[in-house]
Symmetry: C2
Subunit: 313 residues, 2 copies
């Protein structure tokens, strides 16, 4: 059987239970399968995450200036730390470099990455260079937890589902760029402060990297619950709003927004309203008993074709 027959998420569902069982150690507080791993330490717990940005998969040449691509690579990873309630401390950058790549482009990418990392608390402390047919960067961030960690598996029926910021900027930029129209990939937000503060309020949290509907499905699966997501409530970029339901569906399944999706028990809603998160948060649905994500629009069920991005399909 080829991996495309089961897809990225199908393969992960098959292999993760074995890997999680093998990683069960006293010092592994959160193992494989969440946004990041959490390790016990003499001081604050350590948080580790890795993610890749590849030409031809995540972007095409010319879709954004090289320094911005470097910042995107950092922020896509920082988002995984934010989703755990962690803050970054150190970064590693493993590069795949085509020999014909201009030196200036390579250096601009690395400097863009390092500057953005430093601005958000992380020193670029190491990396690797390998030849590649196309440019790629694999980022690792080591972070620490100022407060509690928040995982994907704590959502309970009755919890309200929220999202930070608004969705769709990346999806609409990619649509325009693919169609040959002017545009460039947006710079993702940094939700580190919000992540730390939400960690003591939210019952579950993850970042929207592969599409809200699909990522919410991961949260539901981990928490053994269902979700009702109201499309009309999802905060979207103006391009999505203008297109009505179809536009909102693009925003809710497009991915690469790097906003945080989280669930809050009724008892914490008052504290959430008073929390200084540095960004808007919008209620978009509710956690229910069951096992799936139901998408509704003003009370009526919406059929969603593709729920998000799968790397292997």
């Amino acid at each position: 059987m080829k991996v495309r027959q089961i897809g990225e998420h199908g393969w992960l569902r098959a292999v993760l239970p074995h890997l999680a069982a093998a990683a069960r150690r006293r010092d592994v507080l959160v193992g494989p399968g969440d946004d990041a791993a959490v390790l016990a330490s003499a001081g604050r717990p350590l948080v580790l995450t890795t993610d890749a940005l590849r030409e031809g998969v995540h972007f095409r040449s010319g879709w954004a200036p090289w320094p911005l691509l470097g910042r995107r690579a950092f922020r896509a990873n920082a988002s995984d730390l934010a989703a755990m309630g962690a803050v970054p401390r150190a970064a590693l950058l493993a590069l795949d470099v085509p020999p014909a790549m201009p030196v200036r482009a390579l250096t601009a990418f690395v400097r863009g990455f390092a500057a953005d990392a430093r601005r958000h608390g992380a020193a670029l402390v190491g990396g690797n260079v390998s030849r590649g047919a196309r440019f790629g960067a694999t980022v690792t961030l080591l972070g620490t937890l100022p407060g509690p960690a928040v995982t994907r598996d704590g959502a309970r029926p009755g919890d309200t589902i929220f999202v930070t910021g608004r969705l769709g900027a990346a999806a609409f930029a990619v649509r325009a760029l693919r169609a040959g129209r002017a545009g460039r990939l947006p710079l993702p937000p940094v939700r580190l402060r919000a992540g730390v503060r939400l960690a003591s309020l939210a019952s579950a949290m993850l970042d929207v990297s592969d599409g809200l509907v699909q990522d919410l499905g991961h949260l539901c699966r981990a928490s053994h619950v269902a979700a009702r997501l109201d499309l009309a409530l999802v905060p979207c970029v103006p391009e999505a709003v203008r297109l009505g339901r179809a536009g909102r569906l693009v925003a809710a399944t497009g991915g690469e927004d790097y906003e945080l999706v989280f669930t809050v028990p009724a008892a914490n809603l008052g504290r959430l309203a008073r929390a200084r998160l540095g960004c808007a948060v919008t209620p978009i649905g509710v956690i229910e008993r069951g096992r799936s994500v139901r998408v509704v629009d003003a009370g009526r069920a919406v059929r969603v074709g593709r729920v998000g991005f799968d790397h292997l399909r």
Copy 2:
């Protein structure tokens, strides 16, 4: 200018001083440019390293069974920790997967990696999956330092140069495989115990990943010294010995041996002789004043063409 015009090591020499300066923080004990980074921590210092294994660059399909490739990926990284005197604790595995890859091959690689990591103290705690035209794995290891860290920059004139184990197994396997002869990539050694013990004896250390002559050059550059390397003393696999000087040159420039090269001051030679390292160590030369690596064979200078592997040339 294209990166192939300056090469991997040329680019790194240009960019590393800037990155090292930017990473200068009180909690960064060793920054970019060594085998691994070292970070201060409430307990033992933390050590971070990353490395990649890519089909078409580091191996071709059929050169080794998938579980062995997984173990190679772990060991190539563990070697960087060993070269700092560190031991692994946690691993991340970022995969590039062609959609047509058999599920069985992908799972075998990951399980081979995880089992070897666990055997050597590291839990596989997370990772990433991205689509790729060819298979690739980017590994990150987080380790800790049981004793002192040993960097590349402490070698002094008069120190003796040693290498663990013997060299050339990977280079001769690759030659045979490229020529269509039977064979398979060897399983690299694990020098973690030796690394920890050598950390309190050696003045400088690194692992042989891109060829002994080239890697020794990195050590000399970092330490502002020269080296005289005696080819006749380099411990080599039998295939190299049989071919005489040409064979020894292949072993000394071939790379991917993942042995440790280290320098020892005269005062520590007695302790080295008594140290229980779990492997042979062989004196192969001496550190001198100057700036380059001189290769000699029974006292006569040897011209070395290609000193080792450069990813971008």
